[in-house]
Amino acid sequence: MPSLPVIEPDVQAKARGKAPEGAFDPRDDSDHAGLAFEYALRLGDDALILGQRLAEWCGHAPSVEVDLSLANIALDLIGQATLFLDHAGALEGKGRDGDRLAFHRDVLDWRNCLMVEQPNGDFAQTMARQFLFSTWHELLLTMLSDSADAQIAAVAAKGVKEVAYHRELAAEWVVRLGDGTADSRARMVAGLDWMWRFIPELFASEEVLAPLLARGVAADPAAFRDEYDRRIVAVMSEAGLDLPPPQRAILGGRQGHHGEHLGHLLAVMQALPRTMPGEKW
């Protein structure tokens, strides 16, 4: 006997009708200012969550030099996030600034991709994540340097040099760990294997962005998919690593469907501003 109740056809039809939003209210995409807010939020959230993740290494990195490298990258990303989130707040027009958006939003309202919220794991996993994300990030910001939104274009143009360095540094470590000892290689293989399933989300095409793409505000990552693959393969072959086997893609971060990890990250990041609202030092 099955332990679950039989799902009646009408219930099933109702559930299907909710797809792909599931239990969440469908978004109102008719509002262009709302869309631009949503897009700036994604750019800011990607940068802030990854910056916070990297900052978790502070004082724990394999050497004091690596500690500084990771903290530098984290600060670059948090700087970009501040500008994108301040801009998002201005687009929204409800008086929220970057700090308000960073410290007073809960999990369901975050729009970062799932890759950046993945746990640091060991140093190899952190570098695998950085390599796969920064390669994408650099190509995206390069395109966004020509965005029709002047503020997005300016922040992207400033950020692209920073991110190019993040990509170079991460690629160096992928090669050294992948082409290093048996232990470092196994760790890099495991790290890439963990992160690989989150790549498709970076390139997912979304109807909802169509108006922003048409106006030249947003960039379509599909335009640089081939270049992305080429760059990833080039580094991995230098490292003597095979591409991980195909995995089932995990999507949903852009809709606020996050993994268990994000809540823990936000709890640490938001604890102080929420405990002492408006506090300054």
């Binding site: 394999p62 050497s63 030099e65 500084l68 490298s69 540094l169």
Partner: protein, 94 residues
């Protein structure tokens, strides 16, 4: 990890036309990573436009216990300073 890494001496050129100056050292597994570490450790505040890294093991240093014979003989050779000499008034452009 860093205990197993060799030490590299770091030199920074502050701006074009200046010489590279020694600023400190970093641990790194190889020269390329040593440059990254030098960049992240010593040029975070716009300190330079060019970096050198040199394996510390490649530097031959004088022996501090030998400083008498090495450096003391120069002490009383004040005529080696250009200011020792009086310049005649009719010599210009010097």
């Amino acid at each position: 990890m860093s205990r197993d890494w060799p030490l590299w001496e770091v030199f920074v050129r502050a701006k074009g036309g200046m010489s590279h100056r020694h600023v400190g050292s970093v641990h790194a597994p190889d020269a390329a990573i040593a440059l990254r570490h030098a960049r992240d450790t010593y040029t975070r505040r716009m300190e330079g436009i060019s970096l050198w890294v040199v394996p510390s093991a490649s530097i031959t240093a004088s022996d501090p216990s030998d400083d008498g014979p090495m450096f003391a003989p120069a002490e009383d050779k004040i005529y080696r300073h250009p200011t020792f000499y009086e310049i005649p008034d009719d010599v210009t452009h010097i």
